[in-house]
Structure formats: C-alpha cells, structure tokens
C-alpha cells in the first residue's frame, strides 16, 4: 500500500509537469498581442510596451518558459494584472466556495444517482426503469444555465421557497471563519447557539448543488444500473438466491459493493466536470467561487490569474483521482495495490 502510494505520487510529477506546460503553451499560442488586447481602446504604444515588459512578454519564448517553470516550482503565480494582488491569495479567497459547492453537488449526485441506478436495475424493463432512464437522459442533455434559471423560476419565484443566489442572506452580515460556510455556520451554531446561519447557508446551497449535480447524477445512475445488472447475472448471486437469502440483502450487501467499482471511477472523473460546470453554476447563482473568477480572468486576459487558476484546478482534479484509486481497495479488497 505504502509502496503503491509512493509510486502514484511519483507519477504525479510528470502529470503535473504536463499540465503546467500545456497551460503555458495555451497562452503563448493564443493569437494577437495579449498586452494590446488587455488595454483595449485606450492602448497607446508606451503603455503596451510597459505591460509587455511587466509580463515578461518582451523576452524570447524559451526564456519565458524557463522563468515560468522556476516560478511555478515555488508556487509563485505572480500578481494578478487586474487587481495587483498575489494570484495565490485570490484563489485562496474563492476556492472554499467552489469546493463546498462541488462536494454538495457530488453528494447529491452520488446518493440519488446510485439509488436510481439500483432501483432501475432491480425493476429492469418496467415503467420504473423506463421513467428513471428517460429522466437520466434528460438530465445529461440539459444545459446547466438553462436548468439553473428554470430551478430559480420554480423554487425561488414561483414557490418562493429558496433564494435566487449567493451563499447566505447578505443582510445577516455573516463573517466567515474558514470560508467553508457550512462548517463556519456550524461553528457559530456551537459558539452562539444560533441556527439561523446554518439554515440560510443550506437554503442557499440547494439550488446550485442540484443544478450542478444533475448531469453527474444522470451519468452515475446509468453506470450504476448497467454495472448492477452485470453483477446480478453472476454465479455468486444466483447461489445466494438459491440459498434463500433475502433479495434486499443480496442487492445491498452482496451485489452493490461489486457494482460500485466502476461507479467510483466515474465519480472521480465527474469531479473534473463539476469544476468546469461550476463556471456556469457560479455565474447563474451568484456563487463567489473560482470558476467564475477564472472566467473573468480569461475575459480580462489576466494571464497570471488564468495560469494560476487552471493549474490549481488541474492539480485538485489529479489528486481527487488519486484518492479515488485508493478507495478501490477499500471497496473491493480483491484489487491489489501494487
């Protein structure tokens, strides 16, 4: 196990090196002069030159690349052109919001996805199965921004149940501690005995988590269903049934664990999708996270911010998949980590 872990961690180095190089290439190869584009209508020769110098764009590409690698190696992402703040500080201010949203979206997607998958598999070719799978197909095909606005129209405007956006009722003047609002509001609950923060935070989380989690939910449901059907065909299930073990026990104790293996892989991969879907969800639901921030940075051609943001997200994704691989052995001891 330890040896496997070390090996996997060593493998991360070339992966991350690839990511870092790709990010550099993407910006170096994008057309036009970034300094000129950043300054827009007001650009004059002097200011363009100054900015090129400031960004190091006046040096040869090779030198730029080496300087860039040197900086990334010590986690120096430079200062954002737009705000003048260190990029790493900007990311730290927004990353918890995105992680919190992604976790809740994934919890929602995994719980309901697996549940629907199981029900579909055990009721194969009945109306339950057809309805669930038709629902899943709709879920996968739905554009997030559209789904987000529809959810908002129904639950915020129509039924008046949930807020339209943000992380907490701003009139509460909430002071975050860690930046993870669920955690922070629980701390306040224990410190001050006031549940109002937690209630508001959860209410604000529901719609964006559902909007963001719908596509992964649909994918997880479909994978669970087919994987479950596969497992249910196997000999040991037939033997269990012959032994008279209850169907409930067979499914949830014997079949599910095996059926979950491919599902776990998909959940890991879906995290990447969540981080990209977060851009749209964060925009619609006024969620102050990193997705929207990177989008703005791209629009403003704030290259240090774009580089830093993409590298952090890619690194997170790589690490999540490492954790998922390690989870295999927990779910199925037959998988040997060596």
């Amino acid at each position: 196990m330890i040896r496997y872990l070390v090996k996997r961690l060593a493998l991360l180095i070339p992966t991350l090196f690839g990511v870092v190089t790709l990010v550099f290439a993407m910006i170096a190869l994008s057309p036009g002069d970034p300094a000129q584009a950043m300054l827009g209508e007001r650009a004059n020769k002097e200011s363009v030159e100054k900015l090129r110098e400031q960004l190091g764009l006046d040096k040869p590409l090779g030198v730029q690349y080496v300087n860039y690698l040197k900086r990334i190696a010590v986690l120096d992402f430079q200062n954002s052109i737009k705000t003048g703040q260190p990029v790493i500080q900007e990311i730290r201010a927004r990353f918890p919001a995105t992680i919190e949203l992604s976790i809740f979206a994934m919890l929602f997607a995994a719980f309901f996805g697996i549940l629907i998958g199981i029900v579909s598999a055990t009721h194969k070719n009945t109306w339950v199965d057809y309805t669930s799978m038709a629902g899943a197909l709709t879920g996968v095909s739905m554009p997030i921004f559209w789904l987000g606005l529809v959810l908002m129209l129904i639950f915020s405007i129509g039924l008046n149940l949930l807020p339209t956006g943000g992380r907490i009722d701003i009139r509460m003047y909430f002071t975050p501690i860690t930046g993870f609002y669920v955690l922070d509001s629980i701390i306040y609950l224990f410190k001050e005995g006031n549940p109002a923060y937690l209630v508001s935070v959860i209410k604000h989380l529901i719609l964006p988590a559902v909007a963001l989690g719908t596509i992964p939910l649909a994918i997880i449901a479909r994978i669970t269903r087919s994987s479950m059907l596969e497992v249910l065909k196997q000999d040991y299930i037939r033997t269990a049934r012959a032994a008279g073990i209850s169907e409930h026990k067979i499914i949830y104790q014997y079949a599910l664990r095996n059926a979950l293996l491919p599902v776990v892989t998909v959940i890991g991969l879906q995290f990447g999708l969540l981080l990209s879907g977060a851009i749209l969800t964060e925009t619609i639901f006024a969620w102050p996270g990193i997705g929207k921030w990177i989008y703005n940075a791209i629009e403003a051609r704030d290259y240090p911010a774009v580089q830093g943001g993409i590298i952090i997200i890619a690194t997170t994704f790589v690490f999540i998949n490492l954790v998922v691989d390690l989870l295999y052995s927990v779910i199925n001891p037959k998988v040997r980590l060596s």
Partner: protein, 534 residues
Amino acid sequence: MRKVIVVVALLVVAASFTFAGGQAQQPSNTAAMTGPKTGGTLVFGRSGDSVGLDPGRETDGESFYIADNVYETLVAFKPGSTEIIPDLATSWDISSDGLTYTFHLRTGVKFHDGTPFNADAVVYSLGRQFKKDMPAYKNGPWQYWGGMDMDNIVKDVVKVDANTVRITLKKQEVPFIANLAMNFAAIVSPTAAEKWGADFKSHPVGTGPFRFVSWTKDDNIVLERNPDYWGQKAYLDRVIFKVIPDPTARYLSLKKGEVDLIDFPSPQDIPAIKSDPNLKIVQQPGLNVGYLALNVEKKPFDSKLVRQAMNYAINKQEIIDAVYGALGTPAKNPIPPTMWSYNDDIKAYPYDPDMAKKLLAQAGYPNGFATDLWAMPVSRPYNPNAKKVAEIMQAQLAKVGITASIVSYEWGTYLDKTEHGEHQTAMLGWTGDNGDPDNFLFVLLSIPATQIPAQNISFWKNEQFEQLIEKAKVTPNQATRTELYKQAQVIFHEEAPWVPIAHSIVVEPMKKTVEGFVLYPTGKRVFQSVWLDQ
C-alpha cells in the same frame, strides 16, 4: 371572428398598459409628498465585483461605484449632468494666463478615520500619483492619471496654507478641471493610506456620505452612513453592493425582492420589468458613441459625397431594433446627448437610399463600389454585437450598389490594424471619461490623433474643425466653449468622416419603494440622495 378576438386582445393589452402606467405614477407621487425617510438598507445587485478600492489606482466602473460613495473630489459633477460644481473645494481662481488654479478648500471636513481634510490631504492624494520622490508613489500604478494625460498637463500641486491648494499647469488646458471631478482625483485620508500602504485598496477611507464596512470578494461590499458627514447626510443606514453576474438572475433577484436596484438588465427582460407593478425604471443615454469610421485616406472615402452617401444609405433604426433593443438610441453627433454642448439643432441624415445613389453618381460611382467593413470581435457598451451590425449594414449598402465585405480580427489585432489605418471602413466606439466634449472631439477627431497609432481612425484632418476644438481647449468661458463645440459638430456633420451609429442607454430597474435615485452620465452610482419609502 378572428378579427374581433385580435381587437379585444389589443384593447386588453392597451388597457393593462394604461393601468400599469397609472399605478406607476401614484405611489411615487404620494411618497414625494411625504418627503425623504431616513433608515433602511438598500441592496444594489450589480454585474461584477470591484477590482480595488483605491480610487487613484483603479480603472473599472465597478470599483468606482464604491469610490462614488466613500470618496469626494475637489469639484464634482452636478447630479444627472456633466456640469462641474464645487465639492471639497468651495471655489477656485484661475490666473489670467490659465496656468495656475488656486483652490479654496471646504473647512471643518473630516475623513472617516477622524483625520482632518486640508491642503496636505489634497497634495498627498494627487501628489502620490505623479511625484516620484513621494514614498506613496510606489503604491501605483496610477493608470488613470496617465490615461488622462495628467503628466503632460500638471506641473505641480502645492499647499499655499492649510485650506488653500495651488495647481500649476504645463500648458493651458481648460478641460483639466473636469478631470478633477473624476474618481482618480478623489481625496484620500493620508493617515489611512500611509497605514495600509499598497493594501489601502482594501481599506478605503474618504470624506464621502458613506463609509466602508466590509468586503467579501466576488460577493458583497457593505457601506454604512457617515454620521459626521459635512453636507446632507445619507438617508440610508447601509448600502450593500451585491454581485450577481447573470443579468436574468439579477432581474429575478429584484423581482423576488432580495435586491432593491439592479444594474445592466438584459434587453429581453425589460418589457417584463416595465409591466411589473412593483418595479420601475430610471434611464438615460450613456456617455458613449458607437460609430463606423470612413478612412478618408483610402478611396472612395476621400470624397465627401461618398461619405454622405454612406450616411444616407444606413438605416440606424433598423440596427437599433435588431441589435440594441431598448438599450440603444440612434446617434447623429460624435458626442452623446447628455453632454453639454451637444448640438441638437443638427438634423440627422435620414435613411434615404435614393439620395445615397444620387450622391454616389455625383461622386463618380453610379454603379457603387466595393469596400471592406470591419467589425469588432467583442461586445462593448456602445456596440453589443458589431458583427451583427455589420451584416445589417452589408444588406443596406447592397441596396445602393455598395458591396461590403465584412472583416474581423481578434480584438488586440483589430485595434492594432485599425490604429495603423489598414481598413477602408471600421466600426469602433468610445466611452467618455470626464464628461468634457474635448474628451470625445479631440481624442477621436483631432489632427494629432491621426498620428499612428491613431485614435482618429477615419484619419480625417480638417483645419477649421481643428481650430475650433483647439480654441475651446484654452477658453475658460463655458458659454464660449459650448458655442465652439456646437460649430465643430456642424462641420463634422457636413464632412461626415463617420457614420455615427448609436449611444447606449443606461437602464436601471428598481423597486417602486426606491426614491431619489439619479443616474449620472459619467456612470456614477451615487446613493447619498436615495431613500426607501417603506
């Protein structure tokens, strides 16, 4: 039968509009009678976060929204106009050679941190932006100072006594006073700026009617009433600037009542906002212009007749309806209608394809000609979709025999190539800074602006026009300046170096309970006079 239904339906629609209109008026009238009420929190839903809160450093509108309320300047824009009025300076004298401005400062004013406002604060706030020997200079870059060419205008800013400041200029430049009303020239607390250093941009301290409370990045900024304000104190206890990036989500948030006022609604939502009995709209043309520049250095646009023909051949209303919707109004002059000296006597070229053909024939192009038509790749306030505008123009020009081929490049390249005059015709636009006509006419149409990299991308050089705008630059008398700019617009109209397309319209939807909100042409969002009728 069908006809009857249609008529009935129309009547119902008409009736509901009349009703809605009637309801719209009543509450505000009764409210106006009771007078402003103090108290309450206003939530302003806006499209993006501030970049920073040091007025000297920032360049974006969202940052200035906070400065508009926390900071003040020596002179200010009169609410709703581009006229200059006293603010932190009660009066100023201009020397006869126009090179020395002496400002008499308001006394008894204190910054939010208790620091007294005086000549030292003025010298510090402006000096840090150009005096390289001041330690605070390194907290820059001071982009707007450079952007407004202040390095070439201002020689020095010195204290005469505690309440008098003298600014000396390198050259005569009357529009300079309007620069002092801009956010970058705001007076900051020297104590606070020194205490925070480069991080002052997260801890703003000014003299304004509101003071800064907190900032949650990309989420909200909270301001509260300054109880020690020297003038009319703000009515609102608090203002929260809340970021809601998506325009439709912003509108829904207003509809649900979570926010009281929103910025930049999506054009599709405006009819719904207008028919909502709980909402109202305040609107005004923006301080910008979108235009099609005709490069007079290239054939056939060297001919005035051809340029006029282009103006007759393009139907602006069709463009507005298709692209701008409720958020644009046709342009006839190079400056927007909210700017002083706007010449409303000028008659816009009507849409008249026959007249266009006649002029083309006179100019020697009876069968038209072929030209390029450059369209920006990005959406700007003055032109939300240049490529679509280009397609409409293309079809309109075809009707008079002009074959236009649309050209577009990546934004940086586009600007670079147009600055070098590679186009025959190119769309571009301008958003004004200081509300002075010079900021449009000199920047975009003067002879010096034709030097490469050019901002005058029609490369039009007119001596008569030049004399007028040069004279206006050094004439302190406002009435004389107005007259000079009006004459300059007449020449522009006759010579037609552009086809002016449109000015954007700034639309601010809000709850009916929000009273006293005034839009500023310069794009400010000032909440000092705003109160809630609830």
